[in-house]
């Protein structure tokens, strides 16, 4: 464990941390601007050119607000809820390969914080832990409606994790490895992208990703806040900011995972034919990955302001009775296709 390794990883972690926080902050602005444009109006445009400094204003507003902790609640759990939500949202970004390796001098720096052999499974574990943040927030509010909202949010979350897992199994059959770096490496160019191999799997995955991030049309936990209560009724100031921020960081990580698993990650068309130096290919790859991530974030917001939300029983019906059979059918079809390919297209 030499010093240079520690420094390199530390710098990478800091950079990725800052990038995810900045993207989450500007996602709040993008949400408001895109919502406005889709609704025929102009969003925030007074704070800085085009409303650029609006997230700073919102952050400052959150910090200045009064921190209220209900008397009968458990103060430790009350503060732990949003902290846990933020923590699990941020550590999901540790296994995403942001690019191929950079070669500086004779040092090769991979642009991924931790290349573990079970990359996707780690992300699944982290997403499952995210449910705890919501449950603790709902319980610690000492409010029946918050608890009901949190219970519904948690049940929605765990139901759609199964659908995600099934689509990942089909993907695993195609790629043969769980490590995100291997999956990204196998999708070099354009025709090797997994979206061509697994369209149905991608459909199931993106539906479950919407449900995991609590975004419309599955935002019943959020909408209940407007109607009755919800897991963040009793929160104010930066703790509420923590919950909302955790949702945007979850969106960012989900977009990054979708881009890496199905859309080739940092690969772009004709990447090996242009004859550029490896470092330039890496940098352009990173830019392409962020373009894909931004497109997915735009897609999240586009769907939010178009589709009405599901009722709770319709949501559960979709998760258990539609997506799981679809996921299983996808696995069976993928298996048949692999066997047929082996026999006939050797």
């Amino acid at each position: 464990m030499e010093l240079s390794f520690v420094i390199e990883k530390f710098v990478l972690v800091t950079v990725i941390f800052l990038i995810s926080l900045t993207i989450a902050a500007y996602s709040t602005l993008a949400e408001r601007k895109i919502a406005a444009f889709l609704q025929g109006r102009v969003g925030p445009h007074r704070a800085g050119w085009g409303g650029m400094f609006q997230p700073l204003a919102d952050g400052a507003k959150m910090f200045f607000k009064e921190e209220i902790i209900p008397t009968q609640s458990n103060p430790f759990l009350f503060i732990a809820g949003p902290s846990l939500a933020l923590l699990t949202a941020l550590i999901g970004s540790a296994v995403i390969p942001f690019g191929q390796a950079l070669t500086i001098g004779d040092k090769v720096i991979p642009l991924q914080v931790a290349d573990i052999d079970v990359g996707i499974l780690y992300i699944f574990g982290v997403v499952s832990l995210g449910v705890y943040g919501i449950m603790i927030g709902g319980w610690a509010s000492n409010n029946k409606f918050s608890l009901m909202g949190a219970v519904r949010a948690a049940s929605q979350n765990i139901s759609y994790e199964i659908g995600m897992g099934l689509s990942i199994i089909a993907l695993l059959m195609v790629t043969g490895s769980l490590s995100l770096k291997t999956i990204a490496e196998q999708q070099s160019g354009f025709v090797n992208w997994n979206i061509w191999a697994q369209p149905l799997g991608f459909l199931v995955f993106i539906t479950c990703a919407f449900a995991e991030c609590n975004r419309t049309p599955f935002d019943l936990p959020e909408s209940e806040n407007e109607l009755v209560g919800g897991y963040h009724t009793e929160y104010s100031g930066m703790k509420l900011g923590g919950f909302l921020f955790a949702e945007y960081i979850n969106m960012f990580v989900s977009s990054a995972v979708m881009a890496t698993l199905y859309f080739g990650g940092y690969n772009f068309p004709f990447m090996n034919d242009l004859g550029l130096s490896p470092n330039i290919i890496t940098i352009i790859g990173v830019l392409f990955l962020f373009a894909k991530i931004f497109f997915f974030i735009f897609f999240f917001m586009w769907v939010r302001w178009t589709v009405p939300r599901f009722r709770y029983d319709q949501l559960m019906n979709l998760g258990w009775k539609v997506l799981i059979p679809l996921g299983i059918a996808n696995i069976v079809l993928t298996g048949i296709w692999i066997v047929v390919k082996d026999i006939y297209f050797k």
Binding site: F37, L38, Q39, G40, V42, W302, V303, T306
Partner: protein
């Protein structure tokens, strides 16, 4: 049962086709509609640089008028204060002295005339009640301010027209 007018329409409740049940084609159509809106003209008015057009009878801030010779019309008769439903107008009358004939039309004038803009509802009853045609509500929109006392508009501050008409 006979229908009175022929305007009723019987709704058909056919079972959904496969394409309708998977919701995806409808969602994609909806996404296309929403996306088109991004490129249409926006309906926002950029206040205060742009102003929305108001009708001719729109009532704005008060202004006490002067006649053709530049003398103030208001004689502090108090009819506007009596007519005001929100009791927003108060005044203190004074007598015109020897050298002030060019300033005031009649012998009685309003030395202090105050309108509390927080109470005023811009109904225009004071404009209708004035027998001297002295007060009109033809000013601009009321602007925001910080302290309550700054909203009591006195005679020289904002309730008066400029000195030379």
């Amino acid at each position: 049962m006979e229908s009175l007018s022929n305007r009723k329409k019987v709704i058909e409740q056919k079972p959904m086709t496969f394409a309708e049940r998977i919701y995806l084609p409808v969602i994609l159509k909806g996404l296309a509609i929403t996306f088109k809106h991004m490129f249409k003209k926006k309906a926002t008015t950029f206040y205060p640089e742009e102003l929305r057009p108001m009708s001719e009878n729109w009532r704005g801030l008060h202004s006490l008028k002067r006649d053709e010779n530049g003398k103030e019309r208001c004689t502090a008769c108090g009819l506007c204060a009596l007519a005001c439903p929100a009791e927003a107008i108060t005044m203190i009358a004074a007598e015109r002295k020897k050298g002030e004939e060019h300033l005031y039309r009649e012998e009685k004038y309003a030395a202090v005339y105050e309108v509390n803009m927080l109470r005023c509802i811009f109904c225009g009853l004071c404009e209708e009640a004035c027998p001297k045609e002295a007060i009109y509500l033809d000013g601009p929109f009321l602007e925001a301010d910080y302290l309550r006392k700054d909203f009591i508009f006195g005679k020289d501050k904002l309730v008066e027209e400029p000195l030379k008409p």
